[in-house]
């Protein structure tokens, strides 16, 4: 029996696992790198063990240290989260060998899926549709996608459209794969320009039961990494019979490797509903919350219980079992059936509520999920009639193996007449966005630094399945947390759950637009624009969505120029209010000669604000019909053309964040004075972010062409080229390979040719 779980991970996923552990009465052990010492996941844990160093290879990727940490802290199980060691078969094996419970699939299953090349062959043999691998790429094969065999989460993928690029891209992919996954093996496969990414959540117990819990669509991607995920899939919803084929294929995939625990089988699908196996992720997915919302299941709970030998049929109520039990709109759906639930009668349905909720109805006619015996043919054979009896037998086995007494609420017993052969009941629609500290407009450049504030309005739950329509927030940060250069810059996952897809999308967009996200550039505006996009709302999502609808347009700030200008004015007035030390009019003059002048910088340019408080009210250039209704250091209310507009203003060192329904605006106050000693020489190339210089291609005195790469900086697990801004001479080169540089550090100076 598990009493204490060490989560071999950080940030939001560590907190997510802890949340379930808490509700199961299991204590929580964290590990942390030096950079994460003050992270919430560390503070929250019952015990935490330091992993000295910062980079993943020094810390979260060091299996022996983590196992030792578990033993030292008295943990009896390890949950790997996602990423890091979650799909490392050797680690899983070492955990088990150390006598700890591994909350995940068997090392063998991980190993089989770990090599993408081998996994595809295995899947093809099991009858799962796959895209053939391209060994010798010719012009006819183009475009092709290079993938890391050991990769996952989209990292290391590169599209090649021109044969000439192939060697270079292969080289880069290998280098990235080696750095990210410790294995340089890469392979090519045909690249589908407009595929849809559909995946199936699998749950399998150690007794041979494999269940397809539900599908997710994750087609909105950037650089092959998922940005928006949802359940159910709009494509699957509108394609008759697709769900049954998809679920069958997913079960076949899992069964082929005797899979146990939570896993995800990923497919690439076309608009006609044809799909191909991509890979199987042998772990919990980042996007698992959307499935939790629509099924009401706590997937981490299932992982933990399965790791203790529980029987799946007892854990996942099926739609058939509940179909007669009305679920009212928005009513929480218990993940386990209460004992004694009469699944056959509508008698318990509250009066006046329809027995079959319209918006949350289970798609009728969809094939039912089933338990497949290990290695069984998944061609559709199903023995629904005898299933209940089998499940009951399995359940008793589970009870005896885990030693949990009958009646233990964690694993409920099945009611009489329970039909476990159906898919889990689903309800409504859930959409998750990954809020990243990255700049979509600057080639998705990851950001690092302090997140002063992250506040999403209307959040109903954190890390937990919402009871009804609402917002779920999974975040590993708290206000003031730093996003370091060492790890993924995801700030939070925000999950919207509503009766319909449109409500989920628009509700989420609204909440994000109003969220206070202060400190770093994020992809928030892009997310909002995608969620509000007519094509997205129509369900026309595919992996090329961002390209087709023009990234530049989608990444445009929600706040237009006018809003920026008005927000700058609000910032200036809030600043003036904060500076009032005495109750005399702000900026009072007995002989007025000029207005107050403040300049704020945004990505789109400088906004100069000039204003003067007079007896007759605020006088400000460019706004003849503006009235100042109130100004406080954190709140400014203006009347613009007869409409009252309220602005929330938050001031941080070198940053002012103004939030209003017109759109969020981040402003950098331009200092009144410049210190000449802080000026840099013209032609200086500054580090765009903190990172490590990995290669230097030139030396001082070299002639360089405009656009020529001078050096490479690795940050956020990506290589960034620093190119010559103009043709000229490298007059100074201040870094060497291996050197760690801070944001804004001068890397080199190029004197342009006269």
């Amino acid at each position: 029996m598990i009493t204490s779980v060490l989560v071999a991970n950080r940030g939001e996923i560590a907190r997510r696992v802890f949340r379930t552990c808490r509700s199961l009465g299991i204590s929580c052990v964290a590990v942390y790198s030096d950079a994460d010492a003050s992270s919430p996941h560390v503070a929250e844990a019952d015990a935490a063990v330091r992993l000295p160093g910062n980079t993943p290879s020094e810390t979260y990727l060091r299996g022996p240290l983590i196992i030792e940490a578990a033993q030292r802290a008295g943990a009896d199980a390890i949950h790997p989260g996602y990423g890091f060691l979650s799909e490392n078969a050797d680690f899983a094996r070492a955990v088990i060998e150390a006598g700890l419970t591994w909350i995940g699939p068997s090392p063998e299953a991980i190993g089989q899926m770990g090599s993408k090349v081998a996994a595809k062959r295995l899947m093809a043999a099991a009858g799962v549709p796959v895209l053939s691998e391209v060994d010798d790429v010719t012009a006819d094969d183009l475009p092709v996608l290079i993938k890391a065999s050991a990769g996952g989460g989209g990292r290391g993928m590169r599209i090649v459209r021109d044969l000439a690029d192939l060697p270079g891209e292969l080289e880069a992919a290998k280098s990235e794969a080696l750095s990210a996954f410790g294995d340089p093996t890469v392979f090519c496969e045909p690249y589908l320009e407009t595929g849809r990414h559909i995946e199936v959540q699998i749950m399998a117990d150690t007794h041979g039961t494999v269940r397809a819990v539900g599908e997710r669509e994750c087609s909105i991607q950037r650089r092959h990494q998922k940005v928006i995920e949802e359940a159910p899939s709009p494509l699957v919803e509108r394609t008759p019979g697709m769900r049954s084929r998809l679920f069958a294929a997913a079960r076949a995939a899992a069964s082929a490797i005797a899979y146990t625990g939570a896993g995800t089988v990923e497919f690439l699908a076309d608009e006609n509903g044809r799909f191909y196996f991509l890979e199987m992720n042998t772990r919990l997915q980042v996007e698992h919350p959307v499935t939790e919302c629509t099924t009401g299941l706590d997937l981490v709970r299932l992982q933990i219980l399965i790791a203790q030998g529980a029987h799946l049929p007892a854990l996942i109520p099926t739609g058939a079992a509940l179909s007669a039990t009305a679920i009212r709109r928005g009513e929480p759906l218990n993940s386990t059936l209460p004992q004694g639930t009469d699944s056959s009668g509508a008698a318990q349905t509250p009066a006046g509520v329809s027995a079959a909720p319209s918006a949350t109805a289970i798609p009728q006619g969809d094939p039912l999920d089933s338990t497949l015996p290990q290695g069984s043919d998944n061609s559709g054979a199903r023995a629904a009639g005898s299933q209940a009896a089998k499940d009951r037998a399995n359940l008793s086995a589970a009870l005896s193996t885990t030693g949990i007494p009958k009646g233990e609420p964690l694993i409920s017993t099945l009611p009489e007449g329970y039909d476990s052969s159906g898919p889990p009941l689903t309800r409504g629609h859930a959409i998750e966005v990954r809020l990243y500290a990255e700049d979509p407009a600057q080639d998705w450049r990851p950001q690092s630094g302090v997140v002063h504030r992250l506040c999403v309005p209307g959040v109903t739950t954190e890390f937990a399945v919402p009871a009804g329509p609402g917002l779920r927030l999974d975040s590993g940060l708290r206000d003031g947390s730093a996003v370091s250069v060492f790890y993924d810059p995801m700030l939070a996952k925000v999950i919207s759950f509503a009766d319909t897809r449109e409500e989920a999308a628009l509700g989420l967009a609204g909440a994000l637009a109003r969220a206070e996200i202060h400190g770093l550039v994020t992809n928030r505006d892009l997310l909002v624009r995608v969620l509000r996009h007519p094509e997205f709302l129509a369900g026309n999502t595919d992996t090329a969505f961002l390209d087709r609808h023009e990234l530049a347009v989608l990444a445009e700030p929600l706040a237009d120029k006018d809003t920026e200008a008005l927000s700058a004015l609000a910032a200036a007035l809030a600043d003036a209010a904060a500076r009032r030390s005495m109750d005399v009019p702000s900026g009072w003059r007995n002989v007025p000669s000029q207005p107050q002048r403040k300049v704020y910088r945004t990505a789109s340019g400088d906004h100069e604000v000039t204003y003067r408080h007079t007896r007759a009210g605020l006088v400000t250039d460019g706004y003849p019909d503006l009235r100042l209704l109130s100004a406080e250091p954190e709140h400014v209310v203006l009347e613009v053309a007869g409409v009252r507009r309220a602005f929330r203003v938050a001031v941080y060192p070198g940053l002012v964040c103004v939030d209003s329904p017109l759109g969020p605006v981040s402003l950098t106050p331009v200092p009144r004075f410049t210190d000449p000693s802080a000026q840099t020489a013209p032609g200086s190339l500054l580090a765009p972010m903190p990172g490590t210089v990995v290669r230097v291609a030139v030396s001082a005195g070299d002639q360089v062409e405009q656009g020529q790469p001078l050096l490479w900086l690795e940050a956020m697990k990506m290589e960034h080229k620093i190119i010559a801004p103009a043709t000229g001479t490298v007059t100074s080169l201040s870094v060497v390979a291996g050197q760690q540089v801070d944001l804004g550090a001068v890397l080199a100076v190029v004197a342009p040719l006269e």
């Binding site: 600043d575 500076r579 030390s581 003059r589 007995n590 000669s593 000029q594 009144r672 004075f673 410049t674």
Partner: protein, 531 residues
């Protein structure tokens, strides 16, 4: 706590007329301010800008903290003279890095920023205020030195400038010179006598004698930079403590210097307070256009003091002068306000007692003027009005608590002295546009002259021409009227500025805050009071 009531009828015709009259005077005032702001006019302003330089007021605005108030002093200096309104210098109290400082900025668009007799007086007044109130002095200099045609009025008294600079320093008050341009000959002693000196690359010119003079004196060939450039003074002579690359850099450095003064106010901090209960805007309608009509100063006090809360002292005695206690922006004050114009023996004795009480409790005093002077006449002379008036003047002269005078209406005769007129060194003295100040009212003065002339003529046995008398009276009345108006007096530096009545509370607050940079302490003793 005694909350004042207001009986001001804002719907009355009188109020409307008073208001209109005051607004008219304020509009006139704005016109005069515009002249000061315009400086040397568009041509010279443009030429100055083309050199990449900031105007005097722009330098001040950049120097002081964002959104902070700036109390400009003597803005009408030189009004009514041959020189430009403002006297080619801007002075005032501003907040730099949280420190209230006296700021002086020469206006190089007006005859190269050279000093005329009014410039000198305005500068001296600012330095007096700095000394009395312990305000660090920041000089934004760019001046061609003395305006040579008027050198006779400048040269001898002007030497005080350098004396006062070093005396400020000796008194522990830091002096900072930011040299934006010329500071030559005598002007070179401004940086020379200052504690901290910042010079601007390529702009500052600080030498005793320029190249032509040097050539004449010794035959040596030289140039501006080697004689007095910023770089030379920063690297060689050591006169420049800081080398600024441009004007904004000089101001940046100036602010850093102030930030490092570790300047602390030594006076008591203000207490909590609430604004007045009555609208300060109504101060426009309190003073009648015709000063012969008295007004109740409590209507003013109710719109100036915190919470309109005024505890009156001796309210039933000497009712022509209201005295009492209040706070303004949290600073405790005693207020003396003329209620019926004339000061009688009772009022004089009441004032003398009240001033002593304020000194006993270290409470600053505010004088609100509307007086025609001490009462004359047989009964009053016999009643000892001279003795009693002298008691009041004795008390006000020897009082050591800070005084602030506001001329609301009339301020005539010895009443002006008793109410702490300019000669009695109030820390600050401001006038409303409605104020008038003279030895007596214009009609009275003309009448007195007429009576004296008539008597002399008749004594000589000649016939007194009524026609000539009327002409003489009209002429004298007009002259006295003009010379008792606030702009005229302000032009001669007899006040620190003419203010909008609605700004009275703000101005008092700023002055009291500046005053409390020094400790407030009352007098230990007074002159012998005649009883």
């Amino acid at each position: 706590m005694t909350t004042l009531q207001s009986t001001l009828d804002t719907a009355s015709d009188e109020y409307a007329a008073n208001r209109e009259s005051m607004l008219g005077k304020l509009a006139e005032l704005d016109g005069e301010y515009a002249k000061a702001i315009a400086g040397g006019g568009p041509k010279y302003v443009e030429r100055h800008r083309k050199r990449g330089k900031l105007l005097a007021r722009e330098r001040v605005e950049l120097l002081i903290d964002p959104d902070s108030p700036f109390l400009e002093l003597s803005p009408l200096a030189a009004w009514g003279s041959d020189y430009t309104v403002g006297a080619s210098v801007v002075t005032g109290i501003g907040v730099v890095e949280g420190v209230e400082c006296m700021i002086m900025a020469s206006d190089p668009t007006v005859r190269g920023g050279s000093s005329n007799p009014w410039t000198v007086r305005k500068t001296f007044r600012a330095m007096d205020i700095a000394l009395e109130n312990r305000l660090p002095l920041i000089n934004l200099g760019e001046s061609g030195g003395a305006d040579l045609p008027s050198q006779k009025e400048i040269f001898i008294p002007g030497g005080r400038l350098f004396r006062d600079l070093t005396r400020l320093s000796a008194a522990g008050i830091p002096t900072i010179a930011l040299v934006f341009g010329n500071a030559t000959a005598g002007g070179a002693y401004v940086p020379g006598m200052s504690d901290h000196v910042v010079m601007v690359k390529g702009q500052s010119k600080v030498f005793l004698g320029g190249p032509p003079l040097v050539k004449m004196a010794t035959g040596e060939e030289s140039d501006d930079e080697s004689l007095g450039g910023a770089e030379m003074h920063a690297r060689k002579s050591g006169l420049a403590d800081y080398f600024a690359v441009d004007e904004q850099d000089a101001i940046r450095i100036g602010r850093r210097i102030v930030a490092r003064l570790n300047w602390k106010k030594r006076g008591a901090a203000p207490g909590p307070y609430t604004p007045p209960l009555f609208d300060e805007d109504e101060l426009l309608g309190v003073v009648p256009g015709d000063l012969k009509i008295p007004f109740d100063p409590r209507e003013v006090i109710a719109r100036v003091v915190d919470g309109s809360d005024f505890d009156e002292f001796k309210p039933m005695y000497g009712t022509s002068l209201a005295t009492g206690w209040a706070t303004v922006h949290g600073y405790p004050v005693g207020i003396l306000a003329n209620a019926q114009g004339v000061l009688f023996s009772e009022e004089s004795q009441k004032a003398a007692q009240f001033i002593q009480l304020a000194n006993q409790t270290d409470t600053p005093l505010i004088f609100l003027h509307n007086t025609t002077g001490y009462m004359v006449g047989k009964d009053f002379e016999q009643g000892g009005i001279i003795k009693h008036g002298s008691m009041m003047i004795n008390a006000v002269s020897n009082s050591k608590v800070p005084h602030i005078s506001i001329l609301m209406g009339a301020s005539y005769g010895a009443g002006h002295y008793g109410m702490c007129g300019r000669a009695y060194d109030p820390r600050f003295l401001f006038a409303w546009p409605s104020a008038k100040s003279a030895v007596m009212g214009p009609q009275q003065l003309a009448g007195v002259l007429s009576i004296v002339a008539r008597a002399a003529t008749l004594a000589r046995g000649e016939e007194y021409s009524e026609e000539n008398d009327a002409a003489m009276r009209a002429m004298v009345e007009a002259q006295i009227e003009a010379e008792s108006l606030p702009m005229f007096l302000s032009g001669r530096l007899y006040d620190d500025g003419v203010i909008d009545p609605r700004d009275t509370r703000t101005v008092l607050g700023l002055c009291l805050s500046a005053i409390h940079t020094t400790p407030v302490a009352g007098a230990d003793g007074f002159g012998v009071f005649r009883m």
